[in-house]
Amino acid sequence: MDFLTLIQLLDSTVRLATPLLLACLAGLFSERAGIFDIGLEGKMLAAAFFSAAVAAVTGSVWLGLAAGIASSIALSLLHGVASITFRGNQLISGVAINFLAAGLTVLIAQDWFQQGGRTPSLMGGGRFEPITLPFAEALAEVPYLGPVYAELISGHSFLVYLAFAAVPLTWWVLFRTRFGLRLRAVGENPAAVDTAGVSVVGLRYAAVIICGVLCGIAGAYLSTALQAGFVKDMSAGRGFIALAALIFAKWRPWYALWATLLFGLFGALETRPDVIQAVIGMKVQGQLLGALPYIMTVIILAGFVGKAVPPRAGGQPYVKER
């Protein structure tokens, strides 16, 4: 494998890891606050549709992004009402949200655009265009570092840079602010937070709303940056891979970055069987690569390679003593 192929491979790794990373951080906020969220997939899908639909109608990708985030927050609030206010089963609520998004997106797409459940292709201002970083062209000729900068680091859309910036930001919010301390505490021991006079319900709603915002950006990235428009079921299990990455990362932001990059690399390799064959000298089935994130997560969950311990109060509704 030559150097340029490696750069191309890493470049598509970054592209494929971005939605996983955003959704993974979304889940991180929610689950650290004690709200399990298997509805990441549905929120991404809804956001992918609404951002593409609004971008197609208005021609502005920014309005599209806003609509995507809004739709994702709406589903987050539904999850919040079911699991925080009415203390319902968070897992069942997540399942319902996934189906709601899968059904409603096609239903509305058909009603608005009559194109068999897809949106019109996005053009011009309706998409996030790649950003060329300064000096990328000038430095491209420098051996090794030049292509790395020009091809790998430069030339992504705004949302990719946003996703990578979200990692240190998430770390800072969770581990260096008072809000973050309380958020983590509410996922471990909500009664203690309540005793300290801080609202458990308020914190948990804040967490699911942040989760909605990040999922919204992830969905918008799918339909307005990675591809040009919405197609039915376009999230294609990415929400679940993000969930797997979250467990793989043991609910920590920096590990989330590495986990999603690793899973992104699997995705990139799936489209380049020739590269695998050249590097390890044998053929690897595409199906195996596709299933690898799930298999690795099961192994991690089984606790054979370092145990993944979820937030202790995760999944349990908090009942204030009366």
Binding site: A96, F99, L107, Q114, I247, Q287, Y294
Partner: protein, 364 residues
């Protein structure tokens, strides 16, 4: 003592949840510019207006009966088996292997053998998540979700690389031999002189699903094992104190659950397609969740809920055929049923409990 009388718990709460789901569904149909009344009429005539419609309704209902029972048994043990989809997929693999590798002399024997294979493969696919939950404490919801995806990859690999007949481009197995053809309702009812549509896929598996319902009821409410499963689901510490082994109950409940989900394959793979195709399950594993929630995890409730979803599926297909409403409307209705009967259960229950408390105080 319970706040609500039993009839309110069993009938009123699910009914109100269902009505809420129906109202929102009607609003959704209105919002996309269609007439909900006309839609319901079309669904009723499409699904129940002919023996052809009934044949499809019962065919779908058979699938949902198996997956609904699968989810219910796990629910009784306090486990959420979201992996019915993967278990049914692997059950299909078991059926395909049994039908293609063994030269069955008669369909009755084939049905027996294929059922066994389906149940075994389904149970095997549930066994690893069950073991990890029981022994290592890994959350069964996550592991069963992962196993759905792993199962899809396994099936994809097997169909594309191993079981695909030479020269065929289609990722599917060869057709099963004629000897394993299951009698359809057309064949069965024809014997007693009742005319039934020849084209509809409903078959003898429907009867087996009803027997499965009865057996699950027997198991849960009339055997020691069922008692242990239910008490473990109600309270783990209490069950432990009574000498019930959490590891054994988790394993047994999940194996039964997986076997039931796997059994669905004798309907869709052996009864209908007569070969194994990719995506043969078509989401029936997930509909099992809605069916179990709506049926309150009771076999009779599951039976009614499976019929309703069978009706919705066939009716939805007719809607998609004759109007511009896409088939995904059914997915929305399914989501709303899961939402209202599952996640938002307390929204209906809390005001009702208050109401019954008030009534009781007045009496006293």
């Amino acid at each position: 003592m319970d706040v609500m009388p039993k009839w309110a718990e069993v009938v009123l709460v699910p009914l109100i949840s269902l009505i809420l789901a129906a109202i929102i569904s009607a609003l959704v149909i209105l919002a996309i510019g269609e007439d909900p009344v006309a839609a319901v009429n079309l669904m009723v005539t499409g699904a129940l207006g002919s023996t052809y419609g009934w044949g499809y309704t019962l065919y779908y209902a058979t699938n949902f009966l198996f997956t609904g029972l699968a989810v219910s048994v796990a629910f009784h043990a306090g486990l959420f088996n979201i992996g019915g989809e993967g278990q049914a997929m692997l059950g299909g693999l078991g059926v395909a292997l049994a039908c293609l590798l063994i030269p069955w002399p008669h369909w009755t024997l084939a049905l027996l053998g294929a059922s066994l294979a389906a149940a075994l493969f389904g149970a095997a696919w549930a066994a690893i998540p069950a073991f990890l939950q029981a022994k290592r404490g890994s959350h069964i919801v996550i592991t069963t979700i992962m196993f759905n995806f792993i199962g899809a990859a396994v099936l994809n690999y097997v169909l594309v690389n191993i079981m695909r007949p030479a020269g065929s481009m289609d990722p599917a197995t060869a057709r099963f031999p004629e000897a394993v053809h299951l009698p359809t309702l057309h064949d069965m009812l024809g014997v007693v002189g009742i005319p039934f549509s020849r084209a509809a896929p409903a078959n003898v598996t429907f009867v087996i699903a009803i027997i499965a319902c009865f057996l699950v009821w027997l198991l849960l409410w009339r055997t020691w094992l069922g008692y242990e499963i239910r008490s473990y689901g109600k309270s783990e510490p209490a069950a432990k104190y009574a000498g019930i082994s959490p590891v054994a109950i988790t394993m047994i409940a999940m194996l039964i659950s997986g076997a039931l989900a796997g059994l669905m394959a004798i309907n869709n793979v052996m009864g209908e397609a007569e070969r194994l195709v990719l995506n043969a399950v078509e989401g029936a594993g997930f509909i099992g969740i809605a069916v179990a929630l709506m049926g309150r995890s009771h076999p009779f409730g599951v039976f009614l809920a499976a019929l309703l979803f069978g009706f919705l599926y066939q009716g939805g297909a007719e809607l998609a055929l004759w109007t511009s409403i896409p088939r995904e409307l059914i997915v929305v209705i399914q989501a709303l049923v899961i939402l209202f009967t599952g996640a938002l259960d307390n929204m209906v229950r809390m005001p009702l409990e208050k109401l019954f408390l008030m009534l009781r105080r007045k009496e006293a």
